[in-house]
């Protein structure tokens, strides 16, 4: 296996404040990795570095063997077209139908007119593909439902189907189950890990729920104040290490509340 993502001394600063790093990290193609850590530990920043929507202030990020810094804007766009991203708050266009939101997964791979036609007047081939993906995530019957009429869990399934429509090599997920109840959250994560195995996808998901992270992922990365504190299989990590990771002591704002 070769690394699909590599961070070499990558660090990100916001307004002079270090949000992440410097981090050295390697994620192999086909791996399923979860990123855990307290709020503000740099989980979202790390995911945004991986799909090139954020530039490191220092260091280098490589995706599919090539440094992000060597890619032009259009090459970055082409790269992102092959990296699915599932957002915490679904990030779907509420006024469109579920099928249209799924077909929007083609945006990075087609030109404007072709994308517009696919979304506004979808052809049979696109509709069949969107339907089969929605079927796979368990809500095929919602193909023509307006997105804002769906529940939070159903919307997250639409978002997963949209990412799959991209036919991606990697799937990044930023707190994908934060807005659904624990039972549905577990079902959604199981679906994502199953899909990753089924389609040989690299899966990198940030999670708040430590028990889900430990139960469903073979590799766990623990971030604290922008630094990688843990990187191991969950079974090898001691309970005390997790307690240290989430301890308020020494964290910015830890003294409040």
């Amino acid at each position: 296996m070769s690394p699909i993502f590599q961070l070499k001394g990558a660090a990100v600063e916001y307004d002079g404040r270090l949000a992440l790093g410097p981090v050295d990290l390697s994620i192999e193609a086909g791996e399923a990795v979860t990123i855990v850590g307290p709020s503000g530990s740099g989980k979202t920043t790390l995911l945004r570095l991986l799909n090139g929507t954020l530039r490191p202030t220092r260091g280098e990020v490589l995706a599919m063997g090539r440094p992000m810094s060597e890619r032009t804007a259009s090459e970055l766009r082409a790269l992102r077209a092959h990296i699915g991203f599932v957002h915490q708050d679904h990030a779907l266009v509420p006024i469109l139908r579920a099928g249209q939101n799924v077909i929007a997964g083609c945006l990075g791979q087609r030109g404007f007119w072709s994308s517009a036609r696919a979304i506004l007047w979808p052809q049979r081939v696109d509709l069949e593909r969107a339907h089969s993906l929605l079927e796979r995530v368990g809500i095929g019957e919602k193909l023509f439902q307006r997105t804002d009429t769906l529940s939070g869990g159903q919307q997250q399934r639409v978002a997963i189907a949209r990412a799959l429509f991209q036919d991606p090599q990697a799937l990044l997920a930023d707190e994908p189950v934060a807005s659904v109840d624990p039972a549905r959250g577990r079902a959604l994560l199981e679906l994502m890990t199953d899909l990753a195995i089924e389609r040989d996808l690299t899966l990198v998901a940030s999670l708040h729920d430590l028990s889900l992270a430990r139960a469903l992922f073979p590799r766990l990365i623990g971030l604290r104040a922008g630094q990688v504190e843990i990187d191991d299989a969950p079974d090898n990590i001691a309970e005390a290490t997790f307690q240290d990771l989430y301890s308020l002591e020494g964290l910015r704002g830890g003294e409040v509340g």
Binding site: N51, R77, A104, L107, R146, A159, R162
Partner: protein, 306 residues
């Protein structure tokens, strides 16, 4: 000191230390000063409203001039007489004038909304960036600042031109047509809608648009397939709000000679037929209310459409 008293002292000290809104205080001071300045200017006398002569004029207007002409005779103030009078004026001049006012206002607002929709993605500073919704970096906006700033300047210039002055100028270029009124209203309202529509796009939830940008979606796709459709309910709200204004202004511009309720109002006012004048104004109010109803139904339909 008892515990209750100590708690009350703490509440009082928290109240003393509460954050105070400078904006609110400044606004209250500004309005207070404005009222005092107007009062002291001597230009507006409240007493002017209540002189004996004004009272007599008002009574004559309400009891004689505003009463429909056929109803002024003893025993003629009945609903059938009123209805015959209304339908007569409606058939004679009201229907044609009301409809031409409506078409004028509709033509103007459709042109204005078309312009506003086209310019809104350019005026929205969230879309007019090198990589919309990604890599937020104000220093890197470069030429896109000119695009959004230029679009906003165009809109500001258009809405700075008063419709009446614009129509007055256009009447000389396009005499005996409805175009002076249509273009004057479309230009002024196009500037207003362009700005409002641009602000609406800026205020949309950025997450879906960021997601589309992450997917590799181009700016045109973000604007036309996600931003504008998401903004449609608010666009409609502004559309119908400005449509009301267009109906009112189309009536006023009729006073320049363009066929509308306004030209009829000028004619009956010259003849001192105040009863007919009130009825013509009521026809104008009727169109505005119908527009309001259409707006309500359209927005409800969009909310429910699934």
């Amino acid at each position: 000191m008892s515990t209750v008293a100590a708690t009350w002292d703490e509440i009082r000290s928290l109240h003393q230390a509460r954050p105070r809104s400078l904006l609110l205080r400044g606004t209250m001071l500004f309005f207070g000063l404005a009222v005092v300045a107007v009062w002291l200017s001597g230009e507006i006398e409240v007493g002017d409203l209540f002189t004996e002569r004004r009272r007599r004029n008002l009574m004559r207007f309400l009891t004689i001039e505003a009463v429909p002409f056929p109803m002024r005779e003893e025993g003629a103030a009945t609903l059938p007489v009123f209805w015959i009078w209304v339908s007569g004026i409606w058939a004679d001049r009201g229907a044609a004038a009301t409809l031409s006012t409506l078409w004028l206002a509709l033509a103007a607002i459709v042109l204005a909304a078309g312009f506003g929709t086209l310019i809104s993605p350019l005026a929205a500073r969230t879309l007019a960036t090198p990589q919309p919704y990604l890599l937020e970096d104000r220093k890197r906006r470069g030429p896109w600042m000119l695009v959004s700033g230029g679009s906003r300047l165009v809109c500001a210039s258009m809405r700075a031109m008063p419709e009446y002055v614009l129509a007055f100028f256009l009447v000389n270029l396009l005499p005996f047509t409805a175009w002076p009124a249509v273009l004057a209203l479309a230009l002024h309202n196009g500037g207003i809608l362009g700005r409002l529509y641009g602000d609406t796009i800026e205020n949309l939830d950025p997450q879906p648009l960021r997601a589309w940008s992450m997917l590799g979606g181009q700016r045109a796709a973000l604007a036309s397939l996600a931003a504008i459709p998401s903004a449609v309910p608010r666009y409609l709200l502004y559309f119908f709000y400005r449509f009301e204004t267009c109906v009112r202004e189309a009536t006023v511009l009729g006073m320049l000679g363009v066929a509308s309720l306004g030209s009829e109002v000028v004619e009956v006012q010259a003849s001192h037929f105040y009863d007919e004048l009130i009825l013509l104004i009521a026809f104008g109010v009727g169109i505005v209310l119908l527009g309001d109803l259409a707006s309500h139904l359209a927005r409800g339909w969009i909310r429910r459409a699934g």
